[in-house]
């Protein structure tokens, strides 16, 4: 394999890895505030892309993306409000099944609102054939958009959780709900906010990757599985770990195409998921004992 080809695979891996990391961070935010694994996380990505595609016929692209992110965030809030908020002490099995059911309903709703055709947003800059030569490989400028967006999301979230009052309140909720409530934090609103943020970043990721990976009603589920793999690999609840794990998984997946038929690309990811679950469920970066402690 030539160096240029390796660089090509590397960029492809980092691109998809960045998206997986964003989905994983979405998982982590909701998990940290509620202890729930939201199986519908992938659908937020799909919704963001689909809504933006519909809207960009009527308004300039940036406006369409903003609207898509906002609407998806509202969907997230709605889900939390209707299904999660007033559940009394649900057990894990219940929550797993509910969020799976939600992901199916959202997916089928998308199928009926749009259709099964594959669509994509227009490229943010340039078009399908424009490319930039970087380190010997030709990559689309959209790849840089994806990387930039992922980095921006991670940085902004870090700033939000470290330096704003709301962000710190959310961290307080995830560390100890009762104590946070006693300090005057409105825990229920924090939970809704966590759903909104997860949905929003998922939607943004969906928009930015849409030109490269295409969007269709069914693209949420594989993303959810991969995002979950990344979240576990990086240590559930640990978002810095998620970024690293996302890049690792993306690169492994990209290189696996050179060895296996592409139909088995998903098999590689899932095998990694199973191996992690069996041998090191605390992830690469989580310590076994701190696995019980939650941190952003």
């Amino acid at each position: 394999m030539s160096l240029a080809l390796i660089i090509q695979y590397l960029f492809s891996g980092i691109t998809s890895g960045g998206i997986y990391a964003i989905v994983a961070i979405g998982f982590n935010i909701i998990y940290n505030s509620t202890g729930i694994i939201n199986f519908a996380q992938g659908e937020f990505v799909m919704l963001g892309g689909m809504i933006a595609i519909s809207f960009c016929h009527y308004m300039p692209l940036p406006a369409a993306i903003v609207c898509a992110v906002a609407i998806t965030a509202l969907v997230g809030a709605l889900i939390e409000f209707v299904f999660i908020r007033w559940l009394k002490k649900p057990n894990v099995l219940q929550m797993v099944i509910i969020t799976i059911g939600l992901s199916i309903v959202i997916r089928e709703a998308a199928l009926n609102i749009w259709d099964e055709k594959v669509r994509s947003l227009p490229y943010f800059t340039g078009n399908e054939i424009s490319s930039i030569k970087l380190l010997g490989a030709y990559i689309s400028p959209q790849v840089l958009w994806v990387l930039f967006t992922c980095a921006a999301i991670v940085i902004c979230l870090n700033l939000f959780f470290s330096y704003t009052l709301t962000g710190r309140s959310m961290r307080a909720c995830s560390a100890n709900r009762t104590a946070a409530a006693l300090c005057g934090v409105n825990v229920r609103n924090m939970v809704t906010l966590s759903f909104m943020i997860s949905a929003a970043i998922g939607a943004l990721a969906g928009c930015v990757v849409s030109p490269i990976a295409q969007t269709h009603y069914d693209c949420g589920t594989p993303l959810a599985i991969k995002g979950f793999t990344v979240a576990i690999l990086g240590g559930l609840g640990n978002s810095t770990g998620a970024v690293a794990a996302g890049l690792i998984l993306g690169i492994i997946e990209a290189f696996s195409i050179s060895l296996l038929p592409s139909a088995f690309k998903d098999v590689v990811t899932i095998t990694i998921l199973l191996l992690v679950l069996f041998f090191r469920p605390s992830g690469l970066f989580g310590s076994r004992e701190a696995g019980a402690l939650k941190e952003f």
């Binding site: 694994i37 797993v96 099944i97 059911g101 199916i104 309903v105 089928e108 199928l111 095998t271």
Partner: protein, 342 residues
Amino acid sequence: MRQAIPFCVFAALAIAVQMITALTGTDYFLTQITMSGWYALVVMGLCMLMGYAGQISIGHAAFFAIGGYTAAVLTTMNLLPCKNGAFVKLLSGMGMTIAGTNSWGTDILYLSPWLSLIAAVLISVFTAWIIGIPVLRLKGHYLAMATLGFGTIIYRIALGTPLFGGADGLSDVPPFRLFAGLVIDGSRTHRLAGYYCAMAMILVVIVMLSNLVNSRAGRALRAIHGNEEAAQAMGIDTARYKLNLFVLSAVIAAIAGVFMTHYNGGIGPAEAGVMKSIRYVAIVAVGGMANLWGTLVAGMVLNFLSLRGYFGSFDDAVFGAVLILMMVFAPNGILVKRRKRQ
């Protein structure tokens, strides 16, 4: 023998339904009822696993597919070209091969479906055992994801391997000649045979599983579900029990897959898909997590409606909605037997 009443009622109902369809000329309903019956076997095994032992499995369709594909691959292999090979001669001598013609009229020699049934059971036991050992050590979300992952792997293998027919699956699966003229295939002449075979198998399975629930092993499983740590303190090897039940439910699903494949004359990768697995979970949820009869009823009804097309293009959405509604409003199912209270 008061306990035998539900079983007799079931048998009577099965006969009654068949008679009614015969009298009203709606025999074609029997086809969907039969298919619902094979699917119901899967959910009954899953009900034991999820409801009584408390282990969630969102990948159970994989075992159905393993059974079905094993049957399909083994019985669609044409052995005629190797007719004079030693191994084939040995099998023919034992009566394990059957001569026939396929749907294009050419002569073929294929393996006896009995052999493929045994193979399907062995393969599903092996797979469930291999997967079960690591997976059943997990709990909650991790267990759910691991089973989902396993199911997806099997689906991808079915979809992406030419041997398994890829996206089109395998077809032209020969009929399963049981005994005394009882044949499982899709033809109208054998519709009654297929129906009664399915109903008989359901009866056998539900009798055995009901026996299990009230036995020492069943108590141990329910104890594991109730409190695993305390169950261990009672001397119960919880890992082994969970694994054995997992394997049992896998075998039941695989056998159902074999019969369904012969009935339909083929199988496709969708049978291994996540949507099918979720459907099974939804049915167990509706029927009542720890309620065999409820799950059977829910399975027959929901699958029948789905197969007849009553849910239209919202088929998957219905099951998704069912899951949500069940978990939010009736986590213990709506067909729950009321417990004796004093």
